[in-house]
Symmetry: C3
Subunit: 288 residues, 3 copies
C-alpha cells in the first residue's frame, strides 16, 4: 500500500456542484499538493460520485498513472438507484463484491483499484468467500491491495487470517477518540498496518458543535494552533497525525485551501503536552 499521507476523500463530491472541468481542477490541485490518493466508495453520493470523478479523469486520462484510487464496497443503500434494496444492509458475498468492483472500475474509468476496502463489518461475512473473491480480483489485476474499514480487533483478525489486510480505515478525531483505547490502533501498530482515518475534523462538528465537549476541545485546539501559527483545522489534522501508528488522513474537502490545511499538518509536530491538552479537553478530565 503506497498512499500519500493525506488522502483526498471524494465522499461529498456530488454536493460540490462542480462542472466536469472544475472537478478536474480539484483533482489536479490535489496532485499538485502531493495528495496522490483518492478515497471512494461505491455508495458515495447515492452511487454517483465515482462517475463524477471518472468523467473528470476521462478529460485527462494520463493523470491515472500519478494517483492511487481507493474503493469500498459492502454497504447496500436503500436508494432509488437500487430499487432491489428494500432496506440498508450489508452484503459481502462474492457476487456483490465483484459486481461492485466491476461497476467502480467502469465509473472511475480505470482498470484497477489500488486499494479495496470492506466498508463496514458484516456479521454475515464468510471470510473464506471474501478471500477467494479478492484473490481472483487481484489475480485479474483489478484490485491491488485489500483492507477493511470500521472493523474491530476481532473482525480484523478474522479476515486477516484468510487474506492479508493492508489497512483498517477508522474514525478518529479530537471529538471521537475511542480508537485510542479500544485496541484498534494498538492492533494497527502491532501488525504494522498503517490505518486510514476518516472524519479527522469530526465531520465539521469541530467547528460548529456548541456542546460542552466540542467547545472545550475547540478552545484547547485553538490555543495549540495559535502556538504554531496555524489554523484550527491544521491543528486538528496534526493531532491525528501525531499517533505513532502513522495514520493516513482522509479529508473531505472540496476547497483547495482545505486541502492545503491538511498538507500543512504533515509538517507540524505537536509536543506531547500540546497533544495531551487537547485530549484532556475532549475527555473532560485529566489522564488517570
Amino acid at each position: 500500500m503506497n498512499l500519500s499521507t493525506i488522502v483526498a476523500g471524494a465522499m461529498h463530491m456530488a454536493r460540490w456542484n462542480l462542472t466536469t472541468a472544475e472537478r478536474l481542477v480539484w483533482i489536479e490541485d490535489c496532485l499538485a499538493l502531493g495528495i496522490t490518493s483518492f478515497d471512494h466508495a461505491d455508495i458515495y453520493g447515492n452511487y454517483a460520485v465515482q462517475n463524477l470523478f471518472g468523467e473528470a479523469l476521462r478529460l485527462k486520462p494520463a493523470l491515472r498513472q500519478q494517483m492511487q484510487l481507493v474503493g469500498k464496497c459492502g454497504i447496500a443503500l436503500h436508494s432509488s438507484q437500487r430499487p432491489e434494496h428494500t432496506l440498508k444492509h450489508y452484503n459481502t458475498s462474492a457476487q456483490h463484491i465483484r459486481n461492485s468492483v466491476e461497476a467502480s472500475l467502469q465509473s472511475l474509468g480505470t482498470d484497477r483499484l489500488d486499494l479495496l476496502l470492506i466498508h463496514r463489518p458484516d456479521p454475515l461475512m464468510d471470510a473464506d468467500e471474501v478471500a477467494r473473491c479478492i484473490e481472483a480480483l487481484q489475480h485479474e489485476g483489478k484490485v491491488l491491495d485489500f483492507g477493511v474499514s470500521n472493523h474491530t480487533v476481532q473482525q480484523f483478525e478474522l479476515l486477516d487470517s484468510r487474506i492479508p489486510l493492508a489497512t483498517n480505515q477508522i474514525e478518529l478525531s479530537t471529538l471521537h477518540t475511542d480508537a485510542l483505547l479500544d485496541g484498534t490502533l494498538d492492533q494497527a501498530q502491532r501488525l504494522r498496518r498503517r490505518p486510514m482515518v476518516w472524519s479527522p475534523l469530526a465531520g465539521g462538528r469541530l467547528f460548529s458543535d456548541m456542546g460542552e465537549q466540542a467547545s472545550r476541545t475547540r478552545a484547547a485546539l485553538q490555543a495549540v494552533a495559535d502556538e504554531h501559527g496555524v489554523n484550527l483545522a491544521t491543528a486538528a489534522y496534526a493531532w491525528v497525525l501525531r499517533h505513532p501508528s502513522h495514520p493516513h488522513l482522509v479529508t473531505g474537502t472540496g476547497r483547495r485551501a482545505g486541502l492545503q490545511e491538511a498538507v500543512t499538518a504533515t509538517q507540524l509536530h505537536l509536543s506531547v503536552q500540546q497533544w495531551t491538552r487537547v485530549w484532556r479537553a475532549s475527555m473532560g478530565h485529566d489522564v488517570p
Copy 2:
C-alpha cells in the same frame, strides 16, 4: 466433533413429565429426524435429567451407537441434591470435573461423552489443571472432544492454548445478538470451530415477550416466515443458522413438532435482506 446441525437439548426433560417409555419415544423421534446429538449438563433438572435420559436409553441400549452425547460441568448449584454446596458457584478443579464426568457416564448409562463442555467461565480456573484432567479422561476414552460454553474471546484463548477446544456453546437469537459483534463469532469463524447456539428462540420470549424489541422482532420475523411459508419458530432457527460460522443449534423442545420446526430450518436459506430486516427490528434502527 461430529454433531448433527440440530442438537436436542435435554435441559427441560424433567419438566416434560414423561414416562421412561415416552422419553424413549422422544429419543427415537430425534434420531428419526436426523437429530443424532443430545445436549446435557450435570446440573439440568436439578441434577436429575441425565438419569431420566439414561433410564430411557437403557430400554434400548443399541441406540447409543447412533447418537452423540454432549455433557457439561463446572457449575455447582445451591441444591438439596448437593447439601455440601452453600451457594451457587463454579468449580473447574480436576477433582470436580472428574467426579462430574464419572457421575454423568453412570447416569446416562454410557462409557463416554462425545463432547464435554465447561459450562461457564470460572475465574479460578487453572487452565493447566483442566488440560491435564481432560487429557487423562480422553486417554481413558471417557471424553472424546472437549470445549467450553459462554466463554469470551480471551477466556477461549486461554484454555485453547493448553488443550484444543472443539467449540464454544453460546447464546444467540433474534432477541440476543451480542455474539454477532463482541468477537465471539468472529473468533469461532477464524479458528474454524463451529459454535453451538443455545436459546435460539430466546427461551420462548420470542413468542411471549410483549416488550417493544420483542414485538418488533416478532413482526419482522413473522413476515419472513410468511414469505417462506414456514412458522415463526422455523424462521427464528433459520435466522441463527444463516451465520457463516455454521452454528449447531440446540433446541429445548420436548414436542416432536418442535423438533421438526428446527429440522425444517436447516433447509431454509434467508436472503441477506430478510436476515437484515429481522436484525434491524431487533436493534431498533438501521445498520450504521
Copy 3:
C-alpha cells in the same frame, strides 16, 4: 522475574514521616519477613520517595544484594518538582524513559532496577522506540526485566510483540474485580506472566467505605476471616492470591503488622465456596 510473592510498595513512604533510620528498619522488617521486592515509581511522593528509600539504603548498602527493586516511569505529573510540566501527561519517549531510569538509579543508590514498568498505557507510545530504549538499558545492565502496568490485553500484545514483557501490574481487590472478566488475567495466565496486583485492599476502602457494595463485601470477607482465624486484611489478601495466575501482591503499608498480615495470607488457602461468597457479595448477585 524473581520477585517475592508479597511486594512492599513504597508509594506512601513520604507520608509515613519516618527518619532515615526508621526507614531502614522498615526495609529490614520487610526482608526479615521474606518480602524481598520493593515497588517504586519515579512519581511516588511527588517524585520524593525513591530518594527517601535510597537514603535509608545508603546506611546499609549491602542490603541491596538481598532485594529486588521495581521502578516505573511514563507518567509526568503536574508538579512544582517539574515546572516544565503544564499538565499531567504520559511520556514514553526514549528520552523520558532513560532520564527517568537514570534519575531513579541515582535516587535509589543502585546500579540497576530489577524490573522496570511503564506506569500507564500511553496512546502516543511508539512501541519500537520503547523497545530499542529498553534493550539499550538492559544491555547496559541498568534494567533487568521489563513490563507494564494497567495495560489492556491489546496494549500488552502491542508492546510484547516488540520486547518481552515480564508482567502487567494491575488493580485487583474484592471491591475492584474487573480484571477477573475483562481478559487481563486470562491473558496473564495464558502467557504465563505472573501479574502484580496493586491496591489489594482497595486503597483502604475495604475498611472505611460505608457504601452497599463495600459493606456487603466486608461482611462476607469477615466471615471467611473468622473461619480461618485471621483478620480482614489477611483474608482480603488471600482472596487475591487465590487467583490461578499466581499474582504478586503489592502492599502499601508502613506498619510491620501490616506486612505480616500480607505474609500470613500466603499460607492461607480459601476454598472455592469461600472465595465465591466474597465475589458474590461484591457483585451483589449470584454467579450466572
